[in-house]
Structures are given as C-alpha cells and as structure tokens.
Symmetry: C2
Subunit: 336 residues, 2 copies
DNA sequence: ATGAAAGCGCTAACAG
DNA sequence: CTGTTAGCGCTTTCAT
C-alpha cells in the first residue's frame, strides 16, 4: 500500500503539500499530486489520520436489539442526518446484555466522535462510568435514573400508558392486565408506572396476578400471556409494554385458541410496519421512531460541530394511539 | 488521558515493559505497573495500537437492509461466532444504495480485519474493486457473477423456487405470477430463473403480465400486487421473491379486499418470526439465516486466524417449504 | 527480563 | 504557497 511519502516523492513535493491537497486546499502542484495519487492508487490511512487528528468521522450507535423494528427504524433516522453531515454510522447490538454493551461502548469510545446509545438499564454502569474524555453521548429511547448530564430523546411513555388505559376503560374494561418490560430500564419502569397511575385514576385496582414482568423479548410475552390465561379470573384486556412481547402474547393466544378481541383485547406499545397485517390488526401506542433517531443525531451533531458545552437537553417525543382491531368492548364471560 | 509513557514513568519502568505487561507477558515489575495503570485509569489507545500492529480486532458486516428480519438474524449468527473469537462486530447498512455500500466498504477496509458483505448487485464494482491489500471478504446471501475469489455462503435459491412452484402446481394452480427481486442481484436472478425453469418443467408458460420486477422492499410488492390484480386474467397464485415484498403484497390484497387464500394463494421466499401471526399465516420458503451467519463468520475467521490463502469456498445452505395457510387449491373463478 | 530507539502514516505548527 | 519537522501512542526489534 502506497503511503503519503510515496505520493510526495512521485509528485516531487513534500508530504505536507500532499496532505494539503488531500484536505482540499489549493496547491500549486495539484496536477502532479493528483496524477501520483491515481497512479499509485493511493488512499490515505484512516488510522494514521485519526491518530494524528483525533477525528474519526464516524459516530457509534448502540441498541439493545437490532432485530426489533423499532430500533431498526431509529437507526435509519440517525443515518438520515449523520451521513449528510459526513459521518459514517457504526452500529453495535448489545443484545440486551450488559457485558456486550460495555465492550461495545469501550470500543466505540475509542473509535468514534460521538455515541448514541439506548442504555440497557437506568443504572447503567458502562454509561455512568464515562468521563470527560469520552466523546459526547446522547441517550435515546432509554434514559438513566440519576444523571442528567447527557442529552436525551425519550418517548412520552407516561402518556402512552395513559392513552392505552383510557382506551381500554372507555371500551368498558376493568380487568386489565399488564405485561411489563424490565423495571431496571427506563421505558420499562415508566410504562408500568404510567399504567398503574392511570388505572388508579380510573379507580381501578390491579392485582399481583395481573402484573407480569417481561424482558422486552418475544418469548417473555408468550410466557406471560400463557400465565395470564391460566388464571381463575382472566383479564378481559391486556396491555403489553412493547411490540416484541406483544407478538409473543399473540402467539400464545393463537396457540390457546383464544380469539382476539372477542375473548380478550390486546394493545401494545410500539407500532410495527406489519401491525395492520396481523390477525387481528394490532391496536398500539405508536410514535415516530425514525424522527426520534433524527432528533438524537441532531443533538449529537450539535455537540460535535457546534457548542460542545452547554446544558444537557431532554426532548420528549409524542406518542399516539392507533386503534385497529385487537381491542373492543368486553364480550365474553371471562371466568374459567 | 494518560498514555503509556505516563504509566511507565509512574511505575518506574520503560514503555516497553508496560507494553509487554499489557500483552500478558510476565514482567518483573508487574505489580507496580498494575498499580500505575489503575491509578492513572489508563487504557491503551486502540488507534495507536492499530497503527502499529495492523490489527483491529473487529470485523465489519455490511447488509442491504438492517430492517429486514432476515439480515437481522444473519447478523446475530455472525455475532455468535465472531464475539467469542475476540472480534467486535461493526455493522453497516447499505440501504440498497450502491453509493452507501461503497462508502461503507471503503471505511471498513480501513477499520476492520475482515468483512462480511451481502453485495447489492452481481456486478458490484465496490467489491470487485478490492485488491490484495484489502482484508479478507466473505460474501453472504448474495454473490458476484464473475469472480470466484471470495468465500461465500448462499441459499439454495433454485431449489427454493422449485419447491414453491411444485407446491403451487400440486395444489392445482397453473396461473402463477411472480414478483421478482432486482435481477442485478444474485438471489433476485436465481429465484426468478428457478421459477421460470420450474414452471416450464411443469409445462406451464409464464406471460409477461405475470412477471413483475420489484426491489426487495415492501412498497414494490404492494405496487406489483395491485398491478397483478388489475389484470383481465388474474393469477390464482403469486410467488413473491422475498419477505418484505410479500408484506407489501399482502397489504395490497388486504386493501383490495381480496381474500387469501380463497381468491389468491400467496407464497414467499424467507420466513418471518411473525409469519404464523399474519392473516393468513404465510406459507414460505424458509432457511436458517442465523446458521448462515455463523457459517459466514467461520469462513472469515479461517482466513483471519488460519490459512489466509487457499481456494475460495462456496457453501450452499438448504431451504425448506413451510406450509401455512396462505396457499390452497384454486377456489374462486379468477376472471374479472 | 529489560530499556533504547525506530517507526507505523499522517497532520499541523512553524519558518521561509 | 511550500517544505521541514515534531509528534499522535503504541509495538517491536535489538542490544544488554
């Protein structure tokens, strides 16, 4: 591989001139350099460049589950604004595993100019352990409990839960179960708290039986739904804290031969591109994840290219209720 | 940020000793170095290390669409084997755009020890332009037309198409339409060729009307299906070349009020985790994408840690027919 | 086992 | 505008 010295020699100039030429500055012998570059098929070493300049021209994104369409959309949104700004996107999938998240984060701190991350838990030690030397970090979809030194863009989870409960109660439901995300994660907790608060605002109690803990993955929704249906007093509606668990729950009901919404109403957080194709089409609390990604990227770019200091900013993105066919008024007797 | 010199100074040794200590070699003053590292919160610069050693300890993966569950699964499979082997995964999404693919590839050539890519087209100039200096590359899911210098792992697309056609004809269909992927991509072409060949093996002709070109994305399946249904002589079955286009096609049929499989049978390439939840559950040609990812990763690791030379290997992964409910014998009259 | 020193390839003062 | 030069932080001979 040719290096800058080879080019300088071939063009009969100094390496500095080549470097300047490469940086787009006007150089007297640009012609000759250009030719030398072409003939030697020279391309500058990004590693050396980074070592010297400290710039990577790339930003890192760490998500808990790239398989989740929500995060896939988020990433696209980030790409929408990062790429035109001249930044490569580098993706990492923590797979809901703190160790992987930590190793990804450590790696990205060294390899990127800035990081956008959806931290696994509110007390995320990896993120909290970051010091001033680390590149700017913005939190997306999930936030931390104690710290507020990071920019962040979060969905309005409390309102989302309220919309779901309001919808269900308006239909006449009162026996409403909840399949929660992990309470260590900020959306997990916020959605559950919102659910509980809204229920009690409606004067409705929620028994232990009706509160199931999941982990945001499909299998846990499946398990929780099976448990729910084995209860002596079955719920007439269930609110599931995310899309993947909702799929699991739907599969469980399907296997059980339970009809939705005839036997039970189902509503979930997070829309899906194919939600309308499901049987039945799924009623959801949706939001614009791509826009959420764009906002996060803009927040990060501001730190990168504008004022690196300044107080941390929190932006909340709205959610909305998308009524499809998986919810209706309670129809069947729901005792076993 | 402390550097190796600071540590050496604090420990009263040379930088060489620190470097050796870091590399896990036995050093006399390991104790002192260890303390210095801890006190200074030292962590070695990956960039400097790479510049010197040439190693990145990471491998790059470039896929056309991270939103597609197939590729998401593939990436997980790669991660399954790359991470235990000590390699970070770095993901890039080319978004079916040759320019993005090229920029990603150029970047990854500089930042990784090896690359796994699903090239957009068979005549992929970015990949074909790679020279001996580039890190090893393995092709996954899609291959190139001319070159065979790359290891690759490909699905048995021809068999997949045959299984689909056999299934449909066994049900009694003869008016079978096909929504194709881009013919510039290897699976696009292989699946279409396989379809045509199988059809003629059954003595069935395929009119121009029944051959629609898509781009593997949802919207194109939607459009194609609408066209198909506006034909004077409608097909009684349609074979869609991938999962995303199948979703689009299903949406079109749904909007049109067409019943599946009563009015038309639908089968597609690529399974989906939620295929059984669709209305109706989708009959597909499936394969184990995660395993496909694992194989690709193993192929790459062999180049990285074992024999870098050796002839390129091609492995073909099997496909299978998963019969659900979207296909049945032709029932309704299908003339307009 | 250890230290001195060269150098990976580049950029950015600095002096001209 | 140009060339000289000093590193960025590390690994790795090469002597010792």
């Amino acid at each position: 591989m040719a290096n800058i010295q080879d080019v300088a020699r071939a063009a009969g100039v100094s390496t500095a001139s080549v470097s300047r030429y490469l940086a787009g500055k006007t150089v007297r012998s640009g012609e000759a350099i250009s030719r030398a570059v072409r003939e030697l098929d020279y391309s500058p070493s990004a590693v050396a460049r980074t070592l010297k300049s400290g710039r990577h021209d790339s930003i890192g994104v760490i998500v808990p589950d790239i398989t989740n369409p929500f995060f896939a959309g988020l990433v696209k949104g980030i790409d929408d604004v990062a790429r035109p700004a001249g930044f490569q996107l580098i993706l990492g999938n923590s797979d809901e595993d703190p160790e992987q998240e930590n190793s990804l984060l450590e790696s990205f701190v060294q390899r990127t100019d800035g990081i956008i991350i959806a931290p696994l838990v509110e007390e995320d030690r990896s993120v909290l352990g970051l010091d001033d030397e680390s590149p700017p970090v913005v939190l997306v979809d999930r936030q931390l409990s104690v710290e507020s030194r990071f920019d962040r863009v979060i969905a309005d989870n409390a309102t989302g839960s309220r919309l779901a409960v309001d919808h269900l109660t308006a239909l006449g439901h009162s026996d409403i179960a909840f399949i929660s995300g992990p309470l260590m994660s900020s959306p997990g907790r916020a959605r559950r708290d919102g659910f509980l608060r809204s229920m009690s605002a409606h004067g409705l109690a929620v028994g232990e039986d009706y509160l199931h803990l999941g982990d945001f993955r499909e299998a846990s929704g499946f398990t929780a739904m099976n448990r729910l249906w084995s209860l002596a007093k079955r719920p007439t509606a269930v609110f599931v804290a995310n899309n993947l668990m909702a799929i699991g729950a739907l599969k469980a009901l399907h296997d059980l031969g339970v009809r939705v919404p005839d036997d039970i109403s189902v509503i979930s957080f997070d829309d899906l591109s194919f939600a309308s194709l499901l049987n039945p089409p799924l009623t959801v609390i949706g939001r614009d994840e791509r826009e959420q990604g764009r906002i996060a990227a803009r927040l990060l770019l501001r730190r990168l290219t504008g004022d690196p200091g300044g107080p941390a900013e929190k932006v909340t993105v709205p959610v909305d209720l998308v009524i499809r066919r998986s919810t209706s008024f309670p129809r069947s007797p729901h005792r076993k």
